[in-house]
Subunit: 214 residues, 2 copies
Amino acid sequence: MKVLVVGANGQIGQKIVKQIQDSEEHSVVAMVRKNEQKEQLEKEGIEAVLANLEDSVDNLVKALSGADAVIFTAGSGGSTGADKTLLIDLDGAIKMMEASEQAGVDRFLIISALGADKRENWSEEIKSYYVAKYYADKALEKSNLNYTIIRPGALVNEPGTGSVWAGTEFEYGKIPREDVAKVAVTSLTAEQTYRKAFNLISGDASINEAIKRL
Amino acid sequence: MKVLVVGANGQIGQKIVKQIQDSEEHSVVAMVRKNEQKEQLEKEGIEAVLANLEDSVDNLVKALSGADAVIFTAGSGGSTGADKTLLIDLDGAIKMMEASEQAGVDRFLIISALGADKRENWSEEIKSYYVAKYYADKALEKSNLNYTIIRPGALVNEPGTGSVWAGTEFEYGKIPREDVAKVAVTSLTAEQTYRKAFNLISGDASINEAIKRL
């Protein structure tokens, strides 16, 4: 599969790009906003495309040219203004879904956030961020795309352990960004993750095993 | 009809409350956030209920007790932080829709904004506000409620003229808040507005005539 990584310059995005680049199964196109990011990636031998989630859907369709799948991990995060949260995490994500439908790119994975699917689990401090994730995820579930929604717990920068827990029950927990990336890449062709949403924290199963149990 | 006005303390909301109170056809319940607002309204002989759009859907269901219709005109506006835009204009509106469905209150009118329905019409300065209105309106259109979406142009505080233009074509224009309120109240039982969205600016038809032409 040729995978367009949206948010390729983000912390999880960089890890996903690297993992796909190192894999023998898939190839990667990194979607970035700035020309210097594109040039840097190309220097490292990574295919890149310039596009901005604030662009029109038509422009995003062009960025999808040749792709078989999307991993959407763009996000303004909990720390930027809610203004960008609305434009990127909500409308940007949904525009990318519309573009994928138009381009006939059926496989769409999104990195959401643990607890985003239930209002009672939204933490007070970044509640508006959860609102955006909630409605973006809902739009994906209602789309015709073959989606996977991954809802990782608190993200940490420790090295991945390769041991995770994945499921629909809600349990607080942490998970290294490297493991989130690996679960996303492994999910690409894992039928157990098709048209499914799941929570993800560190656990004691291998990634393959955890996905098999979904 | 007993009409719950959500955002009863806002500029348009106050006018809607007053107009319904003065009408012989309908009665009003003003939904407000603060007890002093409730007490003030009750002093003026207006029924009021305390509820907050940041409350749970269950609490909003309680606020709907006895109502036959909702006019939703709450909004953090273009000037407050996008944080509140996400929580009030988007999630608050959709929670109110969910509450209405649960309470069996079928008639639901919302005051949106001219241009909100098409991304190319979103003005740069308050783009995130349009994102919230866009997805709230979309959710209403997809709901089972008998909705009316009113999209007024630039709101002004001049006295209403009673002369408006309403339709689905897009044209920039202004409109006094008093006329917006009057169109909303007139629409309550106007079948031409059922399950419909329309733009609204000042024009040269009477409100009844403009609605008849929809």
